[in-house]
Symmetry: C2
């Protein structure tokens, strides 16, 4: 167990900010901090779920087995809990989490976490808020997914990485073409083609995984009209 002190942690979750000194002591004694390198699996579908995972730093993909192959459900950015649903109700993980960048994750004993919910209303409320926000965000993505064509989804995804994750129109996308396809529900080849199309139309510049958005207005337009 990595020595760590939750009280002094600069990256507390909104929920944890409501814990008092005694509760922090309990948290410290029942949690471990673990580093993961890009590509490493944080937890895996079908394995027993013993802990709540809190993503302190880094970027992670949440994915699960689909009918024919792996489906990426969401990309999550620190700080956030990683899959409370997989640990609260179920004995085994219902999905997997894999690091897209170097990350640190704190594993918290599920029983301790549950006790905090039982005994600290503000903690519980913040957990509920996080779950609600995730649900709303997912709903919007799934509405897009169902009604936009593939170029629209590629555009939406690029905009999301630029605006929500990196806050920069120039970034290194931490997903392979194949990952992007699994995220938006299409094929690797289609993603490839659309990126070169966008590149030819001077909407973006692509160098392997390095992406620069040149004509953002047009990209937004493509995303919106589907």
């Amino acid at each position: 167990m990595t020595q760590h002190k939750c009280t002094d942690c600069m990256i507390k979750s909104a929920a944890a900010k409501n814990l008092n000194i005694e509760e922090f002591e309990i948290l410290e004694n029942n949690s471990t901090s673990v580093s993961f390198k890009k590509g490493e699996i944080i937890f895996k579908q079908d394995a027993p779920s013993l802990n709540i995972a809190y993503l302190r730093t880094g970027l992670v993909k949440i994915h699960m087995k689909g009918p024919s192959h792996e489906k990426i459900l969401r990309i999550v950015k620190a700080p956030t809990y990683l899959g409370i649903p997989t640990s609260m109700d179920e004995k085994i993980n219902q999905f997997s989490a894999t690091a897209l960048e170097d990350t640190t994750v704190c594993f918290i004993d599920s029983n301790i976490f549950r006790n905090f919910i039982y005994t600290n209303g503000k903690f519980a409320y913040e957990v509920i808020l996080e779950l609600c926000r995730n649900e709303l965000f997912d709903y919007q993505r799934y509405a897009s997914l169902a009604q936009k064509q593939v170029p629209g989804m590629v555009a939406e995804t690029l905009i999301c990485f630029a605006d929500k994750i990196y806050h920069d129109n120039h970034f290194n996308i931490p997903l392979s073409r194949s990952d992007m396809a699994d995220l938006i529900g299409t094929s690797r080849e289609s993603v490839s083609r659309i990126l070169t199309d966008f590149s030819n139309e001077k909407i973006i510049e692509v160098n392997n995984n390095e992406i620069s958005i040149i004509n953002k207005d047009l990209l937004i337009q493509i995303s919106e009209k589907g």
Copy 2:
């Protein structure tokens, strides 16, 4: 406000079962019970969200505006809360709810609900469990949606209505063809065609909205292979 007594309610939510007598009194004084007929809107996207809606009896569709038209996000069956996410964090509804059958809904003052979370840990925990279960269920549907073809999704939807909602292989589907299309992300015409195909292959029998599953094994096979 319809006169009602929550303490004696036979259809309490898992969360509400943890309330004590004083809390039930507060709930009674800050909630109303409303009946909706099939097709009536229970709450509407973009309207102010003032209450938590608890679906006591009936069946409801949750839907939101998509890029091109309405998207049905989920079908929910009583008893359950209806869209806690839309009421907890947001001032206006992020999605709509419409009755698919005659239903009764209890509207609970959001502040009271929030106070129960703050002060009653078991109540909060049950709310969290419900949110988690919904998330997991949605994830599985969206993995299917992304990877199955339309016949597979139609089959999956029919099986879901038979097994999860009506517990009968013979039922009246409360959705129009167009609704089914919005639920699985396809076109009205495709749903129509696939239902007649299934009918021709003696997998199901269709009379308007009356559906009988004849060859369930084959339907499951179609659903699984996509």
